[in-house]
Amino acid sequence: MADATYTQGRVATADRGRLWVVLYLATTGLVLLLMMLAGLWMRLAQSGWLYTDPALFYELMTVHGTGMVGIAALGGAAVLWHFLSAYVRLNAWVMGANFALFLIGVVAILVAEFIGGFGGGWTFLYPLPAISQDVWPAWAAAMHMGGLLVIGVGFLIWCLELARAIIATYGGLGRGLGWHVLFRGSTQNVPPPTVVAATMVTIVTTLALIAGAAVLVMSLVNLAFPAVEINPLLAKNLIYFFGHTFINATIYMGVAVVYELLPRITGRPWKTSKVFLAAWTLSTTMVLIIFPHHLMMDFAMPIWAMVIGQIFSYVNSFPVLIVTGLGALAILHRSGIRWDMVSTLLLTSVFGWMAGVIPAVIDATVVVNSVMHNTLWVPGHFHFYLLLGLLPMIFAFMIYLARDEDVTPRGGDLMAILYLAFGLTFVTMFLVGGWASVPRRWAEHLPEWQIWDQIAVIMASGVITLATIFVAMFLVRMPAMLRAR
């Protein structure tokens, strides 16, 4: 089976974008906490414990969705950049440019939402931004979508820089995915796991951003000239291709911390085997083609697209479950390590990712989708893998940097366990809501649904407390980290 092997060599990373990585993480942490508070507010509103005007609820929902997707990408980008820097030569100014565009976009979006009253949802589903019955003005919709466009351009530049650097070092994106090893049996220049992940991420994110930019521009034109209409089904396809792919890619960015740190913590190498490469090539294609699982209730879609949406969504879980997930568990199994905060967060992230896949695959089955689509089952699945998969990766990375990149076990891991406990119960309440047919994105809930919302409020408070501690552990060490550059 596995023949080509890469053994972890380099350790301390000569990361030339270090300043930016730290700023990305600080921004990620702060925005994350604010967005979590917005999420808590929504749960409070739904639980009936805090009256909230629906207009405000939907503004919060739009800000929370957009902001969380934004920082998922920002935090993921920090992780990936840092570890990729050990293998390819990246230009630090790109991190700065992306950061500047990100901040401009954030300001635009905040103005659009809280001054303009925009509440079109993070998916800005055409033609809702333009047709709100005057709940928000056209300028607010334009400002929100313009802000998204600016952020998208930033990430596009960022992705192209990764692609450039990978091509310069490995001779092509195909080689970054290890195709010369996979298909031609070469043992030369085998890309390490982080490079493989980075190649996948640049490919899929670039394509996602191009589609996203296209539909944003079309929507902006439509706002300015309402006579120029878009086919709503086309717009929906573009939006979900963009949205699905972009948010999915963030966890494939974050996983670099698992690939890099577990071998160092356990002293066991993470091999680039042929199976590993095949899995990543599979993920690259699957992530791009399975987005129709968001359109299963659009009966106007061609049936073959629905078949792809169902069958390949299922197949897409293989690489996560049996290659990355199982691989991480194998590295840890009987490794003789002592658990500490970083390693427990990494274990949590592997669990959260693998487990979060399960409700997603189930919902991507048409029979199920007919009675689960757009219920709370959906936020249940994606909060599962973002809150318990992606975030623990980012927290582990923050703490790792705060500890001067030293992975020697230190202190206990009680807080990581509490985070898992609160987080797990929190996402379970979404899933239970889905089981009880509660629609998603409802500002007000029926009394019989509110017991789940109330439990979720308590659990969310716990999650936020612990997230605050993790972020604070990073922020207090920030001055020292910047000085030590």
Partner: protein, 176 residues
């Protein structure tokens, strides 16, 4: 058992099984061991997992697809034309008979809405999207009479959560 309950139980069992594995790794990680045998085991488990996913899961996934709402076509169904507006449903008829197929022809006059049919116990039983410019045909047979609610299942703006209407399902057969 409803589809929802089956799915919830399936999810529960799968996640509990995964938790057991993760917990075992967590507990046994403290004792040191050579990697080679652990890795050998992992490769074996991976191979077994792969073949289970392919040989058991894939046929199930394909088999389940035959249950899809796209190709269902009833002869002489009771027809309801439904149009979504911000923020109400316009139905050309709101009473149908149980036991015989109903065809909903669903569209929207403005933005996307979602046409979700809830049974008298509050369980979602079928849905389709209401998209401007398209008519989605959803065929459903109501087995039990009663008052069914239609809830909006696609975010459509300020009053999305109050976009509700009712369909009365009566005993016996009426003409379509």
């Amino acid at each position: 058992m409803s589809i929802q309950t089956v799915c919830a139980l399936l999810t529960l069992v799968a996640i509990l099984a995964l938790s057991a594995v993760v917990l075992r790794v967590r507990i046994l990680a403290q004792e040191g061991h050579d990697y080679a045998p652990v890795q050998g085991n992992a490769y074996r488990i991976r191979a077994i997992g792969f073949w289970i996913l392919v040989l058991v899961g894939l046929p199930i996934s394909i088999w389940l697809f035959r249950e899809n709402p796209y190709t269902v076509q009833a002869t002489a169904p009771q027809v309801i034309n439904a149009t979504g507006y911000q923020w109400y449903w316009d139905l050309d008829r709101s009473e149908v008979a149980a036991g015989a197929p109903v065809e909903f022809r669903v569209t929207s006059a403005d933005v996307n809405h979602g046409f979700g049919i809830y049974d008298p116990t509050g369980e979602l039983v079928a849905q389709t999207q209401a998209m401007p410019g398209y008519i989605n045909r959803l065929t459903h047979v109501f087995e039990t009479p009663g008052n069914y609610q239609v809830l909006c299942l696609e975010y459509c703006g300020l009053v999305h959560h109050a976009m509700i209407t009712e369909i009365v399902v009566t005993e016996g057969t009426t003409n379509g």
